[in-house]
């Protein structure tokens, strides 16, 4: 199983990229008790049977690795969510796209640690391909919501090729500064 929640999410976004999605939206809503994650893509999607099979750890379409008998991405996530009283929902339509909604439950002691949001965000931005990815990250408490947004197309327009070390480190610095601002506003309101 993945060590942190961010590792699970990285895995899911990689699925969207591999499903040839052109538009991916990743929403991360964090509060004291929960972490809500939504991933929407317009990739190749799955039929009802494929979707059922994708949640079975002993199923794989066998195209990527011809002798392999397991497919663990989604099953890992489902296992994590079900043993920690979280929520998981996946909708998919063939040739239209897939949409995943998850709620991780921070109140349960077995929920894995959140992990490193900063590396998650810059790493999903530099996956190979011409897709666009919009990340909406927010923190919610009873006093309100603070959020920021990162748009892959916009970052590419400003920074050029995101896989180049100098651009990627600037992207990381940018995300660090957004994340710090988010954290400052949490601590100042609490």
């Amino acid at each position: 199983m993945h060590f942190s929640l961010c590792d699970c999410i990285l895995d899911l976004v990689q699925n969207s990229v591999e499903a040839k999605a052109q538009e991916i939206r990743l929403i991360l809503k964090q509060s004291e008790d929960s972490f809500i994650v939504c991933i929407d893509d317009d990739g190749r999607g799955m039929t009802e049977q494929e979707l059922k099979a994708a949640t079975d750890p002993f199923y794989t379409d066998g195209k990527k690795h011809i002798h392999r008998k397991v497919g663990l991405g989604l099953p890992f996530l489902i296992q994590t969510v079900s043993m920690t009283e979280g929520r998981f929902d996946i909708q998919s339509e063939k040739e239209k796209g897939t949409s995943i909604n998850i709620e991780f439950n921070f109140k349960n002691i077995d929920t894995p640690p959140l992990g490193d949001v900063i590396s998650l965000l810059y790493q999903v931005m530099c996956f190979d391909g011409s897709f666009n990815l919009i990340v909406e990250r927010s923190y919610i408490d009873d006093r309100g919501t603070d959020s920021y947004k990162v748009d892959r197309k916009e970052m590419q327009e400003i920074l050029g090729d995101l896989s180049r070390v100098s651009s990627l480190s600037l992207l990381k610095d940018f995300i660090i500064s957004q994340e710090e601002e988010l954290k400052t506003s949490w601590s100042s309101t609490s």
Binding site: M1, D7, Q14, S163, V165
Partner: protein, 130 residues
Amino acid sequence: MSKMTLEDLRKLRETKKLEASQRDTDGKETLVIVGMGTCGIAAGAKEVLDVMLGELKKVGNDNVIIRQAGCMGLCHVEPTVEVRTPGMPDTIYGKVDATVAQKIVHQHIVDGHLVNKHVYDKPAADIIKQ
């Protein structure tokens, strides 16, 4: 650090571009590929990529491209890092952790010596194209 705006980011990028153009590089590119399949992520590939990026930034070589690949069939030795750099054989490293990642940057990319105990250059049979 105050919150960086898109305008700040744009300015920083311009400064970096200028610095890079003043540096004497021979235009040869190094490619670093980190395996980011389920297996890689579970074994800690995210941290490896993070360390690689940090070290490469320290070294200050802008002619390096970092890419992420899916599973390359070496799940038993994940996290894996493939390095293609001029003057060195294309190499796949396995069982890479933060320390090994630092070694790959300094020893392989900068100094041109293999990091011997971590070379796993033969992909598993199920991924080799027949």
